[in-house]
Amino acid sequence: MTETAAASAVRGSKLLTVLKGARPFGAGSGWVASTVFIALLVGAPVAFILAHVFVSSGDVWEHLAQTVLPLYVVNSVLLMLGVGVGVMVGGVGTAWLVTMCRFPGRGILEWALLLPMSMPAYVVAYTYTGLLDFAGPVQSAIREVFGWSSTRNYWFPEIRSLGGAIIVMSLVLYPYVYLLARSAFLEQSICVLEASRTLGRGPWKGFFKVALPLARPSIAAGTALALMETLNDFGTVHYFAVDTFTTGIYRTWLGLGEPTVAAQLGAVLLLFVLALVMIERVSRGVAKFHHTTTRYRHLPGYQLRGWRSLAAQTFSFTGVFLGFVLPASVLAWWSLRHSVVNLDFLPMARNSFLLALVAALAAVAVGVVMAYAQRLSPMPATRAAVRLASLGYAIPGSVIAVGTLVPLGMIDNALASFIFEHFGVTTGLLLTGSIAALVYAYLVRFLAVSFNGIEASLAKVTNSMEAASRTLGQGTFGTLRRVHIPLIRGSLLTAGLLVFVDVMKELPATLIMRPLNFDTLAVRTFTLASDERLMDAAAPALVIVLVGLLPVMMLSYAVARSRPGGKS
């Protein structure tokens, strides 16, 4: 929007209202109260983990610092750097090519580039290890052909290494950047780019000087998501024998039996992530990334020919092939060869699907309430509570699982004894080991995923749109229902789908918090894989991928249609 006097006044007044903590729209205290309540509820495990920082833990820290911690830190930093570069190059590059260029196969790539999202990183790690390690078919074939017998005869890149972990994680995580960068490029006004062309910049310069900086918040957000997943990951690095900070957390907790120190390490990790986010915010400085014009036209697209077209195709298809086609084929091959495909998977697939669905709906509903309440009453208290609630994403799943389990157990036990004292009924634990508790844990972990998306898209609904509805007689709830939700339904869908896919893949919280006699696909995959029955794990893993595929397809469809004015 052009910076008209009134518009800037509105924005300015909003900013000032934030500073002052006033309630511009006379937002109902109900919204604030419920938001703070929800946020505190969801933030409780995070707070619980952070509280460990102040508990003394004897000499464990000293032991860790003197022995393994430096290596963990170095590995984590290298892994993050590698994956960060990987996902940015892969995600931004493919997003730009697919959005702005025309070449054969672009239509397929548009959605196919998202496919690796349905692949749990640990599953991809299994398949590549199975394929490429010393005893795997590739190296065996090489030895066969050349008559070699051991590694002393030849050199082959070690897949179980930091490099391997970087490649595998980049392959499955680049879609986060692709998704957000593509949305940003689609939203960019072509006029801005044309202005850049008329100012004498070529297409490349236009990309680096205009499009990229404009898309920077989105790229940063996507990269941040990918890096948080990287930091959280345990399965992949464990499998690849790369000891990261997260390995340290697990080892301290599981091995040394020091949950307190593990939580402290988790808190350190959290602070590190926060610092990263802050640095990005600060470096963005006062520059605003509002789009200054809303004149959209059909994106022209640079027609690529010859080697350029070939290069674009190769670059884009590589990600799809290595991140999805190859591992999925390997899974399919293993499943067909080794696993008896049986109906055991059916109830598990149903469990996984229903859990993911309920969690996605809950995350979207809670995300909407929190984002809207924050919009209505941007008070410091609301903001702080909301931030706390969305920190869960930065904490390794297993730490979150424990952080959730412990307070939940306290509440649950208090509830049980309360009911027993007052009604004489022995209820046992009502929450722990229930689906509700599991959904709660997912909320703790993934609320940030839905909230951030919803918050961002809610911010795009102009203030006057809201004011119009209010002056036309709709209250806050009516406005949310009749204006905001229809307007941001695309983002709601996206947010829900992201959570859905994440929950399908989620392991640590599911493992520790699920009810008796209740299995999901991820649990089964992990159980088989950890029993060194990789090939048998292929079948449930494949089902995870297949079930996750549907939402990913819907997601790419939603993104493709999201271009402003792209309806007609």
Partner: protein, 410 residues
């Protein structure tokens, strides 16, 4: 949020016969002197209203009333607090001081805040804020509550007919031109039959030619609906075209309020005079209760000797006559369409030469370098306290975007 609304408030009303408007046009409000509402009282009273963000007082002790059927215009440069005042009337902001009385009911201030949806106000936004996810008819019907589907439709169609958009009922907002969007937005705001219409720079998104036409149509629609209107603009010409009365604002305060002609003819401040058009400003010192100038002495009542003042003269108050005995030399003359602008230099005895502009009609006299004598219409010359030169200029014509990308949510 309903508790504020349900709190019973004594019905108060605006300046009745007992409440003389103070020179600023607002009611010298003493709440205790407010009488129970007689018929014909004001739609809206802003009673010593202030709005502040932190230390900054965006609106500072503003009082005025909008009378039934009246169109009151808040005019001022950007950042003068006029939009905030409007938003307070709508309930989109809440005053830190003072009270807002809507149809005899306190709706804002003093711990009361009736939310916008309970105020029965219509708001016409600068960017129109049409809902992009529903069609034109549904947009207009959006605010019509408590009626059957058919009645809502009927009422919405009726409104669309009034603004000449009945053929676009099924169209989508993104298919409309700026002018069409403005009309739909007007119909939508009027459809629930609000007691008060609030217009926030409603024509700034339109190009000049279309603007004149839409402005005219809007005025007729508003006047025929009989609703009271509070409108915000930075364009003095627009204000004079639309308004029954104009409140001119600056720095969060009302400088002067009155009918357009009154403001033009009898500006209360240098700022008011210059806001309606370019003026000649001659700095001077008061001497013996008067100001001396090349055009003779002007009485300066209310000033002490030695006070620094500005003699403000509208260019059209000057008429020129060729003659070697004239006091001024013509530097340049330009034809501006309906009038000519003549630049002159008057050599003054006291100090630096004075640069004056005169506006004349008729054919452009090609008289560069000629000596002219100047005749002054003294009713268009004013003595005001000297102001610093950072005086807010009338805002330049702003380039407006079409409403924000409505399609982005389709």
């Amino acid at each position: 949020m309903n508790k504020m609304f349900s709190k019973p408030q004594p019905a108060l009303c605006g300046p009745g016969p007992h409440c003389a408007l103070n020179p600023n046009g607002g009611c010298a409000a003493d709440p205790l002197r407010m009488a129970p509402c007689p018929p014909g009282s004001s739609c809206l009273i802003m009673d010593q209203v202030s709005c502040a963000y932190g230390e900054t007082r965006v609106v500072d002790n503003v009082s005025f009333a909008v009378r039934p059927g009246e169109l009151l215009c808040l005019l001022g440069p950007s950042g003068c607090g006029k939009t905030t005042t409007l938003r307070m009337a709508a309930g989109l902001e809440n005053p830190v001081e003072g009270r807002i009385i809507l149809n005899g009911q306190v709706v804002g201030g003093g711990g009361v805040h009736v939310p916008p949806e309970k105020r029965s106000v219509g708001f016409l936004f600068q960017d129109y804020a049409l809902f992009p996810h529903i069609n034109v008819l549904a947009n207009v019907a959006f605010g019509i509550l408590d009626k059957t589907q058919a009645e809502r439709r009927e009422r919405a169609m009726e409104m669309l007919k009034q603004v000449g958009m009945e053929n676009y009922a099924e169209a989508w907002p993104h298919q409309l031109s700026g002018g069409q969007m403005q009309r739909v937005a007007l119909a939508r705001a009027l459809a629930p039959k609000p007691m008060l219409m609030l217009l926030d720079e409603p024509f700034s998104g339109l190009d000049k030619r279309l603007r004149d036409q839409i402005r005219d149509e809007t005025l007729h629609v508003l006047k025929s609906s009989g609703v009271c209107v509070l409108m915000v603009t930075h364009d003095p010409e627009e204000a004079m075209f639309m308004a029954d009365r104009i409140a001119i604002m600056r720095g969060g305060r009302i400088v002067q309020i009155g009918e357009p002609e009154e403001l033009y003819r009898r500006p209360a401040a240098s700022f008011v005079a210059s806001f309606f058009g370019e003026v000649n400003r001659i700095p001077a010192k008061v001497k013996g209760g008067a100001v001396n100038s090349p055009f003779g002495a002007f009485p300066a009542p209310g000033f002490k000797d030695g006070d620094q003042v500005d003699l403000v003269i509208r260019p059209e108050a000057l008429s020129l006559e060729l003659g070697d005995h004239g006091i001024a030399t013509v530097l340049v003359s330009h034809m501006l369409g309906r009038s000519n602008l003549i630049h002159m230099r008057v050599d003054s005895e006291q100090g630096a030469p004075i640069h004056l502009h005169a506006r004349t009609t008729g054919p452009l006299p090609h008289i560069e370098g000629a000596r002219v004598s100047i005749k002054l219409d003294r009713s268009q010359a004013y003595v005001f306290p000297a102001e610093d030169q950072s005086d807010p200029e009338p805002m330049p014509e702003e380039v407006q975007a079409p409403p924000p990308s409505l399609g982005s949510f389709c």
